[in-house]
């Protein structure tokens, strides 16, 4: 898989060993599995490879992985938790074979000054080459005081500070989740914190690092993993008018809904627990929403919002205000 990494400048890391083109089935993910993730055909519920002792050996050797710094602003950690639900590749494989997660507030071991020094040291060491994953909105009111990320040498570091300082150093930025992409719930009507999405924030600071928006409240794990893999395989994916990969956000939910025939026949759900019919009368925002949930489904492909209740349009720039009330028809 050398070419994967070669495609984004030079990818770096301390060890000299690189991932082989195709890994033996028993030890990990092959390129084919990456592609399965991209195309949404991953069905692999079942025995994970994480129990394989060969995997633990592999990580102790330390393979070349893409450095990622992941920070959280005004969010709920739901995007990170969703990422943990990745099926193929599993999260263990992602963490140990694909990316080198140099900092993550929820899963990283280090804390305090050590963590803050490490973040800045990694950004410097891999300047222009690391991916900067931003989860949560950036509150710009009150000099950024509504979100404090840490302290280094007695300096308080806010979300505004860290994004402003590290984003220009990154090779690419992933705005993970609707809060990071567009502001999301923290930016909804009534907010006093000046919650802002990444691209809007970059405009005010003249930061030009390329951004991939991966909205969703939370985003599907495949959207996050698929975007990262695309970045590694062939650079920034093709984006739509709102900065989202067309690969995942190119199609309308309603137009592709398995219940579209019901709509065409005016067979509508009568209540939220009615298992049958089109959900528009009980509030479904599928017609206003572009994402591939209708075919990808959630949590290992077991269910999705429209089969359970309604789509609330969580991947859209206007979420939540433009989608409220959630349980009233949009028309």
């Amino acid at each position: 898989m050398n070419h994967v990494f070669n495609s984004i400048k030079e990818v770096p890391v301390k060890d000299k060993q690189t991932l082989p083109e195709v890994q033996p089935e028993k030890t990990g993910i092959s390129r084919r599995n990456f592609l399965k993730t991209l195309t949404g055909t991953a069905a692999g519920i079942g025995i994970s490879q994480v129990f394989n002792p060969a995997l633990i050996q592999a990580l102790e050797k330390g393979l070349t992985r893409h450095p990622v710094i992941w920070i959280q602003g005004q969010g709920c950690t739901g995007c990170s938790v969703s990422l943990l639900n990745s099926v193929d590749p599993s999260i263990a494989d992602i963490l140990l074979k694909v990316i080198s997660l140099q900092f993550h507030p929820t899963v990283g071991t280090c804390e305090g000054q050590l963590a803050m020094e490490h973040v800045y040291a990694v950004a410097k060491e891999y300047e222009g080459r690391f991916s900067f994953a931003i989860e949560g909105a950036i509150p710009v009111a009150e000099n950024g005081k509504y979100c404090i990320l840490g302290e280094m040498d007695h300096r308080e570091i806010t979300m505004v500070d860290m994004v402003q300082e590290l984003a220009p150093m990154a090779g690419s930025v992933l705005a993970v989740g609707t809060c990071a992409a567009y502001g999301g719930i923290p930016a909804a009507k009534g907010n006093v914190t000046g919650a802002t999405g990444v691209m809007d924030f970059f405009k005010t600071k003249s930061i030009t690092t390329p951004v991939v928006n991966i909205p969703g409240c939370p985003p599907h794990p495949d959207w996050i993993v698929g975007s990262i893999v695309h970045l590694l395989e062939s650079g920034i994916p093709e984006l739509d008018y709102d900065g989202r990969p067309k690969l995942f956000f190119g199609n309308n939910i309603h137009d592709n809904c398995p219940r579209l025939d019901d709509y065409d026949e005016a067979f509508m759900s009568m209540s939220l627990s009615d298992p049958n019919g089109c959900r528009m009368d009980v509030g479904c925002k599928g017609p206003d929403t572009y994402a591939d949930c209708y075919k990808r489904k959630w949590n290992s492909g077991l269910n999705w919002c429209v089969d359970n209740a309604v789509c609330i349009g969580c991947v859209e720039r206007g979420f939540p205000d433009a989608m409220s009330p959630f349980y009233e028809p949009a028309y």
Binding site: E60, G78, T109, E111
Partner: protein
């Protein structure tokens, strides 16, 4: 550790030194701890919540039903608990009584996420305080002297379980999604019940996954927690705190208020029935307007003032009957006092949770309570799976009242959770949330009493100021 120059000022010297830890990682959210150490022990502590989003303001003016969706986004680890609290507040305001199947479906959704949350917390957040991960990111860097005491064989077993637990917790989320639509952030919990009427197929799919998860809990998670008590036995003797506990109770067994995990308040060694009217939230040391201090959540106001002098946290300081109270598995298990798991009975030689006594109020004691609770909830889930009726209604549609109030009391995996809603003209006029972490990670109140984590930090050993591992261990024992 710049700032405290710990290497040149050993903690044992008798002089007080301040150690800031910011961020405290492997928690949900943004937390800072600053401890003062003298003679190798913590003598004072300040815990600060570093983030404010303004949910309570954002909710004003919205359709009341939207609250179950919006408030889930308070916490991506325990959204089902916020959905539950919100739905209970709305059920109360709308005056709706659930069907049995609706109640059971909600328990199956919330219960599966309890298992997920506790497993995630122990393995992926807390365990790295006791176990060395592989020498690669994200497991490095770590403290140079991190006081990991496990023999290599046991450490390897624990790392293997860490990886296996990633898979197990994902399976728990699949269970949630089977009835809740997706996870994190379920569609399935709404005012009036639950949106998806379970099919036989869905219940079977849930049950198959459940068996695998339960096996992991019984055979691996619970035994590993008890195994830690060998090398880390001293951590059963530190981190006491105020010894006051609050639980609202969770997992309704009927429509009459009986719950699997009991409500109860334990103050200064005595048990009391719960009364939410006894709560007041103080803000003298929080970045909120002083005019809003001392209010019950039903009268609550949330007006931030991030520049208020003397304040050090975005967390309010709730007090029950004027005193700080700890929430979480320990509080629920203390109130319920169930029989321990087979492993627990064998390891400890006692039968019930309260038989463990003072050792419960400690760093490891909280982990024991959490593991035991996981086993208890798993046992109950098996019963609820068999009680759920395929095809039976789970939802009672009810119109939005013109004006009403509602209170929702439940328990997030990490502690007591209260939602209050006030509806006027069919819109939200006021909404207040007193969440689990607000109970535990709060700052001093107007009377100067420390918050529960702050108090529990007192006396915690920090023999090496450059590597204050026990501070993180104590904080994470609360699962903030």
């Amino acid at each position: 550790m710049a700032g405290c120059n710990p290497q040149t000022e050993p903690a044992q010297a008798g002089k007080k030194i301040k150690i800031p830890i910011d961020p405290v990682t492997r928690i949900e959210g943004h937390l800072k701890a600053e401890v003062e150490v003298a003679g190798g022990r913590v003598v004072d502590a300040h815990v600060s919540g570093g983030m404010y989003r303004g949910f309570e303001q954002i909710l004003i003016g919205r359709d009341p039903r939207d609250a179950t969706q919006i408030t889930q986004r308070i916490c991506g680890v325990c959204p089902t608990a916020h959905a539950t609290a919100s739905a209970l507040a709305l059920d109360d305001a709308f005056g709706v009584e659930l069907t049995d199947n609706g109640r059971i479906a909600r328990n199956l959704i919330l219960g599966a996420n309890y298992l997920q949350s506790h497993i995630l917390h122990f393995y992926h957040l807390a365990a790295l305080d006791y176990v060395n991960g592989p020498d690669t990111a994200p497991f490095i860097p770590r403290y140079a002297k991190n006081d990991v005491r496990l023999p290599k064989e046991l450490n390897d077993v624990a790392v293997g379980q860490y990886l296996e637990a990633l898979e197990i917790r994902k399976i728990c989320h699949e269970m949630v999604a089977l009835l809740g639509g997706k996870m994190p952030h379920v569609q399935g919990i709404v005012v009036g019940g639950s949106t998806e009427i379970p099919t036989r197929e869905a219940l079977d799919a849930y049950a198959v996954r459940f068996q695998k998860v339960r096996q992991f809990i019984v055979e691996k998670y619970v035994p590993l927690v008890y195994l830690l008590a060998g090398p880390y036995g001293d951590l059963l003797k530190t981190g006491v705190g105020h010894k006051n506990l609050v639980s609202w109770g969770v997992f309704p067994l009927d429509n009459k208020g009986n719950t699997l995990l009991k409500p109860g308040v334990y103050t200064d060694g005595k048990d009391y029935a719960v009364d939410p009217a006894m709560i007041k939230e103080y803000v003298k040391y929080s970045w909120f307007e002083d005019s809003t201090t001392g209010l019950n959540p039903t009268q609550g106001k949330t007006l931030p003032n991030p520049n208020k002098p003397g304040a050090y946290s975005f967390i309010k300081a709730p007090r029950y009957n004027g005193k700080p109270h700890e929430g979480g598995p320990l509080a629920r298990m203390w109130a319920t006092n169930p029989e321990l798991s087979k492993t627990g009975r064998e390891k400890l030689g006692v039968t019930k949770l309260r038989d463990i006594g003072d050792a419960c109020f400690s760093i490891l004691g909280r982990h024991v309570a959490r593991a035991e609770e996981t086993a208890l909830v798993a046992t109950a889930l098996e019963e609820w799976i068999s009680q759920a009726q395929p095809g039976k209604e789970t939802f009672v549609p009810t119109p939005i009242p013109q004006s009403a109030e509602g209170l929702g009391l439940t328990e997030a995996p990490r502690g007591a959770l209260l939602h209050y809603i006030n509806i006027k003209d069919q819109k939200i006029a006021n909404y207040q949330v007193t969440s689990a972490t607000i109970w535990n990670a709060n700052p001093r109140d107007d009377m100067g009493q420390r918050g529960p984590i702050e108090e529990a930090l007192i006396g915690v050993p920090v023999p090496d100021a450059a590597n204050p591992v026990n501070v993180g261990r104590l904080i994470r024992s609360f699962d903030p």
